[in-house]
């Protein structure tokens, strides 16, 4: 299937292979490099699942551990195979996705073959799993010393009582000690089924050749995807405040508003736009409240806003350094209540929507970001470039309804890191 967005000067080719693997090509005329990402709809939140009638509750950090181990094959490490072609490979595990990618300026087909082969070929031994524990243990140690990461983890603990999103993506030194080759094989079988995955190529390539290779190097059989369990849900936050002390020079805070999860049939892309627009109008770096709080030194240029979506959850996030996080929080919550009551002024809404369009448009120029966004969109049955049309469907009333949800009692939690 081909799709064209004339106003955006973008087009796309998309096909679902017989085994269910979705393949998508986003041409980028004139670009030197081509970026390919093979993603599975499996992240750190998918730790409990049922497959073949048996329930598995896996140790924290298993999706991320699997990501590290996939690079290893019986005939060597995929990183070294990429090194010979000069491609630049990497991978990441988020709460909702594990993805393997490379970018290259030549020998694209050779690189694609390496990528497809290593991701679809699990090879785990007691010995190579034990070795990886050491490396991941160091990675966990590094993240434990990173204030921004600890702040984010604290917020998720504050917002959720049971949801697995509150567990750090890489797990802990203790939890990864329980990971065995068997656990890794089970997860690979449950979630690295072609049906649960997507291949996105952004740059310059031959779409038919991509599809031919994807069919050749992915398994013909696609096992049924495991059913996932995310725990009990509740509307109120878990804790109003989560505090930690670290070696930082000033207090840092993240304030989160717990939002309702996506409803059945609701567009994920539209919700992402709506959530981002709402949080930017509330206190994005061009919003009136931002100017006020900045003037009082309650926030600084590092202050940032975000809106995150994951299975059975959604949240708006705002924060940065502050001389007084409590006062900043009170001001932001007051503004949320006011916007819920009074709605958004039309002129402010119009200019913020214009800016949002500009921000999302710029992603199209960044192959890594565009392909990643497209992978997330595909898993929800959508295409990223439809954002422009969806943007037009958002009204000030829609945004007001969002604030009404955020302004309810017990919907916000704040994570704070204070200097030792």
């Amino acid at each position: 299937m081909s799709k064209v967005w004339t106003a955006l000067r973008e087009r796309m080719e998309e096909r679902t292979l017989e085994n269910g693997l979705r393949v998508c090509y986003l041409p980028k005329e004139g670009f030197s490099k081509t970026f390919a990402i093979l993603a599975t709809n499996f992240g750190s939140v998918d730790a409990s699942f049922t497959i073949d009638g048996e329930r598995h509750d896996t140790p924290a950090g298993v999706a991320h551990f699997l990501e590290h181990k996939m690079f290893e094959d019986e005939d060597g490490n995929a990183l070294q195979k990429f090194a010979r072609t000069g491609a630049s490979p990497n991978a990441f595990t988020s709460h909702t996705m594990t993805a393997y990618h490379f970018s290259c300026t030549d020998r694209f087909e050779e690189n694609l073959e390496i990528l497809l082969k290593f991701v679809f070929t699990p090879y785990f031994t007691e010995e190579n799993v034990a070795k990886e524990r050491g490396i991941i243990g160091q990675e966990i140690g590094m993240m434990d010393d990173t204030p921004s990461w600890r702040l984010f983890c604290g917020l998720l603990e504050g917002l959720y009582r049971n949801h697995p999103v509150r567990v750090p993506i890489a797990g802990s030194v203790e939890s990864i000690a329980q990971i065995t080759p068997e656990v890794l094989y089970t997860c690979h079988r449950a979630f690295y089924s072609p049906k649960n995955m997507a291949l996105i190529v952004c740059g310059t390539a031959d779409f038919d050749e991509i599809c031919r290779m994807a069919a050749q190097f992915s398994p013909a059989e696609a096992p049924e995807i495991g059913e996932r369990h995310y725990g009990d849900r509740r509307e109120a936050v878990n804790e109003l405040t989560v505090e930690r002390q670290m070696a930082v020079s000033r207090p840092q805070f993240l304030l989160g508003f717990k939002d309702t999860p996506l409803a059945a049939g609701e567009s994920r892309l539209r919700r992402a736009l709506l959530g981002e627009l709402a949080v930017r109008i509330l206190c994005g770096d061009t919003a009136p409240l931002y100017a006020e709080l900045y003037g009082k030194r309650l926030i600084g240029r590092d202050f940032d806003t975000d809106y995150m979506l994951f299975p059975e959850g959604a949240a708006a996030i705002l924060g940065g350094e502050s001389r007084d996080p409590e006062v900043a929080r009170a001001a932001i919550e007051r503004e949320t209540a006011r916007l819920a009551r009074e709605g958004v002024e039309q002129a402010l809404f119009d200019r913020m929507k214009k800016a949002l369009y500009g921000l999302w448009l710029r992603v199209l120029d960044v192959p890594e970001a565009y392909a990643r966004q497209q992978a997330a969109a595909i898993f929800a049955g959508e295409d990223y470039a439809d954002f422009a049309a969806l943007c037009d469907t958002i009204s000030p009333q829609d945004v007001q309804a969002v604030y009404a949800r955020w302004a309810q009692r017990d919907r916000s939690s704040m994570s704070v890191i204070r200097p030792q």
């Binding site: 106003a7 070294q80 630049s88 448009l361 120029d365």
Partner: protein
């Protein structure tokens, strides 16, 4: 194909233009290049942040925010950066190209006008900067100086540079010192602003779909293209000779769980403008610049000593750094292994596959840069600050001809200057 042009618009004003139809956005930069270090350091680091607070026409953040939203979410950030031997202060903007949205005609001109206003037409009170903005940004600067240690991964290499280049302008803190920052007031800052406007070279940059002459016309309609007859010439790159005697070792304790180990080396002459930089890039890449490098394979994969261990060639200054995160008790093992891999390079223990892989990695990295206007901005400012003008395509061609003998020579010219260990002392 990208067209890169560089033109002197007036005395002390240069415009570098990268024109390509492939982007839907544009990156525009306006910075003053000044000498690093000295009495004005903190004032200069504070300057763009105060200028970013308001202009005569848009006197506060709210008004600037409204203008940026109207320009389809254009971003303008204050820049305070070390560029080789110079300090760059000013603004960096990225915005969509006007062809990509309905009713966005004149967007690029609007952004350039706003950049010009921010630099040349600030909001003032009684012939100086606004006391309120100055006081706020003085405190923000003090916070930034104090915050440098927050992220150990950022702090360790920075600290290494300060220790290693303590006697050179390059080692002086980019944000100035706490003592300097505490003395900032609106009058001193305004005087420093006028000195900076007088003495600096102005470096303009545009990357996007517009042709160079069209961009030049847009700049020419603003004060940015005015002649700057008192501008000082740029300082040349100084690569210090080999340090005498044993390498220094500095250990400091910080309340973190993971130790950080950083090693600083002198290249023996290789820099953007001196020695044999092409050979040095190939050497640094196969030593520690990729996931197939000697450091990655041996220090991380074989010995599981760390999650990361990588080498960087800081070409604008002619130094190389190796950074890694380790357990406290692995200090000696990790340091020795890092140096052992360097010895292997010096002894020519390098395979053809490693050389080929390094060349390809460099070609991919530089090739990929051509797709990223923000990286191109950095690249071309680095060239401008060093007074050279070599494109990424030329760099790629240069490394293709580098042979084993030149790589070994680069490794042999490299000497260890300083070992810095930031020891984890968390309870």
């Amino acid at each position: 194909m990208q067209q890169v042009t560089r033109k002197k618009l007036a005395e002390g004003v240069h415009l570098t233009c990268v024109t390509t139809p492939k982007f839907k956005r544009a990156v525009i930069r306006t910075v003053l290049l000044l000498p690093l270090g000295g009495e004005d350091s903190a004032l200069r680091a504070c300057l763009p942040h105060v200028l970013r607070r308001g202009t005569r026409a848009l006197p506060d953040l709210r008004a600037i925010g409204e203008a940026l939203d109207g320009l389809y979410g254009a971003r303008i950030e204050a820049v305070v950066r070390r560029e080789g031997e110079q300090l760059a202060v000013g603004f960096l903007s990225d915005c969509i190209d006007e062809s990509c949205a309905p009713g966005a005609d004149g967007l690029t001109a609007g952004v350039i006008r706003l950049l010009a206003e921010l630099l040349y037409d600030p909001y003032t009170q009684d012939g100086a900067f606004c006391p309120d903005y100055t006081a706020g940004e003085r405190e923000n600067l003090l916070d930034r100086i104090a915050a440098q240690k927050n992220d150990p991964r950022v702090w360790a290499p920075l600290r290494l540079t300060q220790l290693m280049c303590a006697d050179e302008p390059y080692g002086q803190p980019v944000h100035g010192t706490k003592e300097q920052a505490e003395k900032i007031n609106e009058k001193k800052l305004y005087a420093a602003y006028q000195r900076a406007l007088d003495e600096a070279q102005l470096e303009l940059f545009y990357c996007g779909p517009l042709a160079a002459d069209a961009v030049e016309t847009l700049f020419a309609q603003t004060p940015l293209a005015q002649s700057r007859p008192k501008a000082l010439p740029l300082l040349p790159t100084v690569v210090l000779p080999q340090p005498a005697g044993e390498a220094r070792e500095v250990v400091e304790e910080e309340p973190v769980t993971q130790a950080k180990l950083s090693l600083g080396f002198r290249t023996g002459g290789a820099s953007l403008t001196g020695g044999d930089p092409a050979a040095y890039w190939v050497f640094q890449t196969l030593y520690g610049g990729s996931t197939s490098s000697k450091l990655f394979l041996n220090v991380r994969e074989k010995q599981s000593l760390c999650y990361y261990a990588s080498a960087q060639f800081i070409a604008p200054k002619g130094i190389m750094m190796v950074n890694s995160g380790i357990e406290n008790d692995k200090f000696a093992v990790a340091r020795d292994e890092i140096l052992r891999q360097l010895d292997a390079c010096r002894e020519g223990d390098i395979t053809d596959a490693e050389i080929d892989g390094a060349r390809r990695t460099l070609a991919t990295n530089w090739g990929a840069m051509l797709d990223d206007p923000l990286t191109l901005e950095r690249y071309w400012l680095g060239q401008a600050a060093a007074g050279t003008m070599v494109s990424a395509e030329e760099r790629i061609a240069q490394v293709q001809t580098v042979d084993r003998a030149r790589i070994v020579a680069a490794a042999q010219a490299t000497t260890l200057d300083l070992v810095y260990l930031m020891k984890g002392a968390a309870k």
